[in-house]
Symmetry: C2
Subunit: 278 residues, 2 copies
């Protein structure tokens, strides 16, 4: 496994890499969710490249960029174990030199949910992912379904900008009790960790109601809200039952729905989602 | 020479094309300025790809998209003569399918000159050029210095987004009397064609003054303005003596300056520029 920190160094290595090339972009502090992406990439490609870069431009001024957890040594050990070929780990000044001034804006689908609560977040995500694609030059790129809206934004960018690569969605990996894997989970104390279960409980409730034949999106939102509001450590940013392609809130669930939420547990903001039907 | 109208068809052909690949993006209605780009591309590459696409998203609502001259048959004959390998000529719906929603914004350098007079113009330019780069996958891309600010915007985009290609600037080609070649020249009547010489006369005057030792940017702007205002058919949008990298207006010309202007001749808007020093 080779660790590369410079774009120019990666460029020199790229022509000798065997095709197809599978790419997993991460912000590090890896967990089983990431490792699932890496294993998929390993199974389906001759070369596996993982990037570790905590991207400053996708954090708002009041967000947790500085507090975002980091542990590169542990990350590298985990990646080596899964037979990663290259880890691309650039510094912030390598990705954003002085006078950096170019941004990618995906409109519409970024205006709702995460985009509404985190202005500029998806601009930062789309820009850094496009830069990483241009540097890494992958055949396939792997993204977790836990970040459902991010996945949609990346797919839209790839399609609209005619990028010559395949975006592969990978199902969310959960703890045994249902909590979706997230680097932010490490910042929960024991009480908060317990309280964080309300996200999965609410999603499971929505699925049960839907399986029993409930088709009113508003009813699902109400029941999930009641459940989460009963947890004193939880505070809801949004609870959404939306069309999976446009993210517009539904009235009736026709064929399928993306049920998603962002919930603060203490000072940690968690997101999760499930797909109904489709 | 092969004419390709579909992105998918081009993608299938791309792997068999010999490297390096030189690319000349155009809006058609080709003239000697374009042919100079094609000849440079032909001399320096094994494969030459030229695109012809009148890009709707770089024209403002009150601009001349509909009136922009078109003559694909003549264009193809000219390109064949210069031994172009592939002409990529997509329809608008191929480049901008319904629900297209992704845009590239280069900030700062787009705020002045053309960007100030044509809001959204460079967003359209950067977006379509990035799309064309992603489709065509060139080693080198050729742009005329006549569109000096566009060249700067493309270079900045390529650098900021880590595109793996070289942008090659090519000097402006002029008519014997000095008028810069432009597809829009075809829309000038005989009187206007004569009046259009004021652009080159003003630029030449600026160069003379500079060669005589004048270093006041304001003096150059004043003298050029006087000269152009004396032509009844001409109306100035801007006359600029700016730093070549930032396009900020200069007070004193230190090392070098980009002298540029946009001037309406009747209903046709022309631009031109020269570099002093550097």
């Amino acid at each position: 496994m080779k660790v590369v920190t410079r774009i120019q160094e990666y460029r020199k290595l790229r022509p000798a890499m065997a095709e197809p090339l599978g790419f997993v972009p991460t912000m590090g502090y890896l967990h089983e969710g990431h490792m699932e992406l890496v294993r998929r990439a390993r199974a389906e490609n001759k070369t596996v490249v993982v990037s570790i870069f905590v991207n400053p431009t996708q954090f708002g001024p009041k967000e947790d960029f500085a507090a975002y957890p980091r542990d590169p040594e542990r990350d590298l050990a985990m990646l080596k174990k899964e037979r990663t070929d290259i880890v691309f780990m650039p510094g912030a000044e390598e990705m954003y030199p002085k006078k950096f001034n170019t941004w990618v804006e995906v409109e519409k689908v970024t205006e709702r949910l995460e985009g509404a609560f985190r202005p500029g977040h998806f601009r930062g995500v789309a820009t850094v992912v496009l830069k990483l694609f241009n540097i890494v030059q992958p055949t396939r790129a792997y993204f977790g379904q836990k970040d459902a809206q991010q996945l949609l934004v990346i797919k839209k960018m790839v399609s609209d900008l005619n990028l010559d690569l395949e975006v592969v969605p990978v199902p969310t990996v959960r703890e045994p009790d249902g909590l979706a894997m997230s680097s932010r989970n490490s910042r929960l104390d024991a009480n908060e960790r317990q309280a964080a279960l309300v996200l999965w409980q609410a999603l499971s409730l929505a699925r049960e109601l839907w399986q029993e034949g409930e088709r009113s999106a508003e009813r699902l939102r109400q029941e999930m809200t009641l459940l989460i509001d009963a947890e004193p450590l939880a505070r809801v940013d949004y609870i959404s039952v939306a069309a999976p392609d446009t993210l517009e809130e539904l009235e009736l669930i026709d064929d399928s729905a993306l049920v998603s939420m962002a919930v603060w547990i203490g000072k940690v903001r968690l997101i999760d989602n499930i797909m109904l039907g489709g």
